[in-house]
C-alpha cells in the first residue's frame, strides 16, 4: 500500500489553475522531495492532501483512506514563516501542540505528553532549550522545534513544507539525520525542497511539479536534465507541455 496516493488532483484559485490533474504515488518508507519553481503548487499539493484546501477535482488518500480518517497517522511541518515567533509561549509548549490532536477537546497535556515532548526535543538536539521563549530562537532552532512538534505526533507519514529553508549547516545536517532515522523506522516523508543540488543526497524519490506533474519516481531515474528543464524552463509550462 502506498503512503500517499493522489489521483487527478486539480486545484484552482479563481480561474487560475494551481494544480492540474496531478497523479502521485508515494511508497511507504521512502523520503520524497517535491521540487518545482515558485508558484508550482508544491505547498498547495500538501495543503490539499491535508484537507486545508478544497480540490476542484480528484482525490487524495493517505495509507489507503481519506486523510480525515487517518489524522492520527499523519504529522505536518508547516513553513516556519507562517507563524508569529514573538507569540508568548515556550519551546516545550509549542512541541506539546503536536499532542493536541490525540488529546481531543478540553483535555490538557499531562505527564506522558510532556515526557514525549522532551524526548522529541532531545532527538532534534534542543533539550536544553525546552523552557526558552520562542522569540529567542534562531531560524534553525525554530525549524527544529517544528520538527519536534511533528515527532510527538508519532505518525507514519510526515508532510514537511521546506524543512531546510534558511537553516544553518548544523541544523541541515541534524535534519538529514532525522529524516534517515525516520526512514529506518519505516516512516514516510514527503517534503517540499528547494535546493536541487542536495536532492540526490537527501532523498530517494522526487516529484517534479509545475502545476502539472512533470515527472515522479526514484531520483536515479527521473532527476535528469531534461525533466528539470521541463519543470523550470518555459514561461508557460502548462502550454509548452501540450504544444511541443
Amino acid at each position: 500500500m502506498n503512503a500517499v496516493e493522489v489521483t487527478d488532483l486539480t486545484v484552482a484559485y479563481g480561474d487560475k489553475p494551481v494544480l492540474w490533474d496531478v497523479d502521485l504515488e508515494v511508497p511507504q518508507g521512502t523520503l520524497t522531495a517535491i521540487v518545482g519553481p515558485n508558484g508550482a503548487g508544491k505547498t498547495t499539493l500538501i495543503r490539499t492532501v491535508l484537507g486545508m484546501v478544497k480540490p476542484a477535482a480528484g482525490q487524495a488518500r493517505v495509507l489507503g483512506r481519506p486523510y480525515a480518517e487517518q489524522r492520527q497517522l499523519v504529522a505536518y511541518v508547516p513553513q516556519r514563516g507562517t507563524v508569529d515567533w514573538d507569540f508568548p509561549t515556550s519551546v516545550l509548549d509549542v512541541v506539546l501542540m503536536g499532542r493536541y490532536g490525540r488529546l481531543g477537546w478540553g483535555r490538557r497535556p499531562g505527564q506522558a505528553d510532556r515526557a514525549a515532548a522532551r524526548r522529541a526535543l532531545e532527538q532534534v538536539g534542543m533539550s536544553e532549550l525546552a523552557g526558552r521563549q520562542i522569540s529567542q530562537l534562531s531560524g534553525g532552532q525554530q525549524q527544529r522545534v517544528f520538527l519536534a512538534r511533528a515527532l510527538v505526533q508519532e505518525a507514519e507519514v510526515y508532510f514537511m513544507d521546506e524543512p531546510f529553508q534558511g537553516v544553518d549547516a548544523t541544523t541541515e545536517k541534524a535534519i538529514v539525520e532525522l529524516l534517515r532515522t525516520l526512514r529506518e523506522r519505516g516512516k514516510t516523508v514527503l517534503a517540499v525542497h528547494h535546493d536541487l543540488q542536495t536532492v540526490p543526497e537527501y532523498f530517494d524519490r522526487v516529484v517534479l511539479l509545475n502545476v502539472r506533474r512533470i515527472a515522479a519516481g526514484p531520483v536515479a531515474e527521473v532527476f535528469n536534465e531534461e525533466n528539470l528543464r521541463h519543470t523550470y524552463g518555459g514561461r508557460t509550462p502548462f502550454f509548452s507541455q501540450n504544444g511541443t
Binding site: P78, F87, P88, T89, Y100, G101, W105, G106, P109
Partner: protein, 365 residues
C-alpha cells in the same frame, strides 16, 4: 484618604456597584482582548463596539425597554452582524481587511448616531440616558446591570478556559490546528463571539467610542511583563479590572467626566508604565542594559590596548601614559580608573598605567 475610599467602596451601594461592574468588564475584555491582540485583530474590537450602537438603539425602539439584557442582546446582534459584514466584504470584494473594518465601523456608527438622535427627539421622556452608550457612564450602573454583566462575562471567561488549548492553537498556528482536525473556522467564530460578549457588556459603562481601548490596552501592557500566554491573559484581566475600577470610581465620585475617558486614561497609564519599566522588554531596561554593555566593552578595549602596548616592550616593567592609551581608544581615563579600582590595572607613576597580574591573565588567552 485611600483608606477612606476603601471604606466607602464597601459601604456605599452605588460606588460598590460601579466598582464591581467595572471590574467584571475589565477582567473579561482584558483577558479576551489578549487573543485579539495576539492574532493582530486589535481593530476588530473597535469595529464591534462601534457596530453595536445601532443595535442598542434598535433594541430600544422595538421593545421600548431599557432593561440591560435587552440592550445587550441588541448590541451583541449588531456587533456580530458587523463582523459578518466585514468578513463578507473581504471575501467578495477586493477591499482589504483593515479597510473593511473601517467601513463597517463608520457606517454602523453613523446609523447608530442617526437612530440615537431620532430617539432623543421623541416627545416621551422614557428615552433618557441612551446617550450614555456613547461615552459611558458608570454612575448609572444598577444592581441588575451588574448581575447581567457578571453572568455574561463569567460565561465568556469559562468558555475561554474550556477551549484554552484550542484557542491557543488558533492564535499561534491555525494551519497546524486544521491538520490536527480541529474546526479552526468554528473556533474563530467562537472567539469572535466571546469578544462580542466582552465588548457589549462594557458599552453602557465605557461607551462605544472608547471600548476598544479596554480590549487592546490591557493585553498590550501585559505582554510587556511576561512570555507565557496564561500569565499574559491573567495579567491583562487584572490590568483591565484595575483600570476599570479606578477609572469608574474616579468618574463617579471625584470628577464630573464620562466614565469612558477616565478609564482609558487609567489604562493608558498602565500601558505607558509597562512600556517603560517592564523587565527585558521595557525601554528603561533596554537603555540600562545598553549602557552596561557599552561600558563593559569599553573597559575590555582599554585593557586590550594596555596589553598591546605592553607587548611592544618585552621584559620592561613600565607603564604607559593615559594620553597614549587615549590615542587608541579616546578618553580612556575614567576606564583606567575603573580598571584600577577592580585591580586589573595599577598606577606606576603619576601618569603611567600598567596591567596587574590578574589584568594580564584576563587579556591573555
Amino acid at each position: 484618604m485611600s483608606g477612606l475610599l476603601a471604606l466607602e467602596l464597601l459601604s456605599d451601594y452605588t460606588l460598590r456597584t460601579v466598582a464591581l461592574g467595572s471590574a467584571a468588564i475589565g477582567v473579561t475584555s482584558g483577558a479576551l482582548g489578549t487573543f485579539a491582540v495576539l492574532r493582530r485583530q486589535s481593530l476588530l474590537g473597535d469595529a464591534i463596539s462601534h457596530a453595536a450602537l445601532p443595535g442598542v438603539a434598535l433594541a430600544f425602539l422595538l421593545t421600548g425597554s431599557k432593561a440591560p439584557l435587552t440592550l445587550v442582546i441588541g448590541a451583541a446582534l449588531a456587533g456580530f452582524i458587523g463582523t459578518l459584514v466585514v468578513i463578507g466584504v473581504v471575501r467578495t470584494t477586493r477591499i482589504k481587511y483593515d479597510s473593511a473594518l473601517g467601513i463597517v465601523l463608520s457606517v454602523f456608527f453613523g446609523v447608530g448616531l442617526v437612530l440615537l438622535t431620532y430617539i432623543q427627539q421623541r416627545p416621551d421622556a422614557s428615552q433618557a440616558g441612551l446617550d450614555r452608550f456613547l461615552f459611558g457612564q458608570a454612575a448609572a450602573l444598577l444592581q441588575r446591570d451588574l448581575v447581567t454583566m457578571a453572568v455574561l462575562g463569567g460565561i465568556a471567561l469559562l468558555l475561554m478556559l474550556l477551549a484554552w488549548k484550542e484557542l491557543k492553537l488558533l492564535a499561534f498556528d491555525p494551519d497546524f490546528g486544521t491538520s490536527l482536525g480541529f474546526p479552526m473556522r468554528a473556533l474563530d467564530v467562537l472567539l469572535t463571539s466571546l469578544l462580542v460578549v466582552a465588548i457589549v457588556i462594557g458599552l453602557q459603562t465605557v461607551g462605544v467610542v472608547l471600548m476598544a481601548a479596554m480590549v487592546i490596552a490591557p493585553a498590550a501592557a501585559a505582554r510587556q511583563w511576561t512570555d507565557r500566554l496564561g500569565l499574559v491573559t491573567a495579567l491583562a484581566g487584572c490590568f483591565g479590572a484595575l483600570a476599570g475600577v479606578t477609572g469608574a470610581v474616579l468618574s463617579a465620585e471625584a470628577v464630573r467626566l464620562p466614565t469612558g475617558p477616565t478609564i482609558v486614561l487609567c489604562v493608558t497609564g498602565i500601558v505607558i508604565l509597562s512600556l517603560v519599566v517592564a523587565p527585558r522588554r521595557g525601554l528603561a531596561w533596554r537603555e540600562l542594559r545598553g549602557r552596561r554593555d557599552r561600558r563593559r566593552l569599553r573597559l575590555a578595549t582599554v585593557l586590550q590596548d594596555l596589553h598591546a602596548l605592553e607587548v611592544q616592550h618585552p621584559g620592561a616593567n613600565r607603564g604607559h601614559s593615559e594620553a597614549v592609551v587615549s590615542v587608541m581608544s579616546g578618553g580612556a581615563l575614567p576606564s583606567l580608573r575603573e580598571l584600577e579600582r577592580r585591580g586589573l590595572v595599577r598606577r606606576l607613576g603619576d601618569d603611567a598605567w600598567a596591567l596587574t597580574e590578574s589584568g594580564r591573565a584576563r587579556v591573555e588567552p
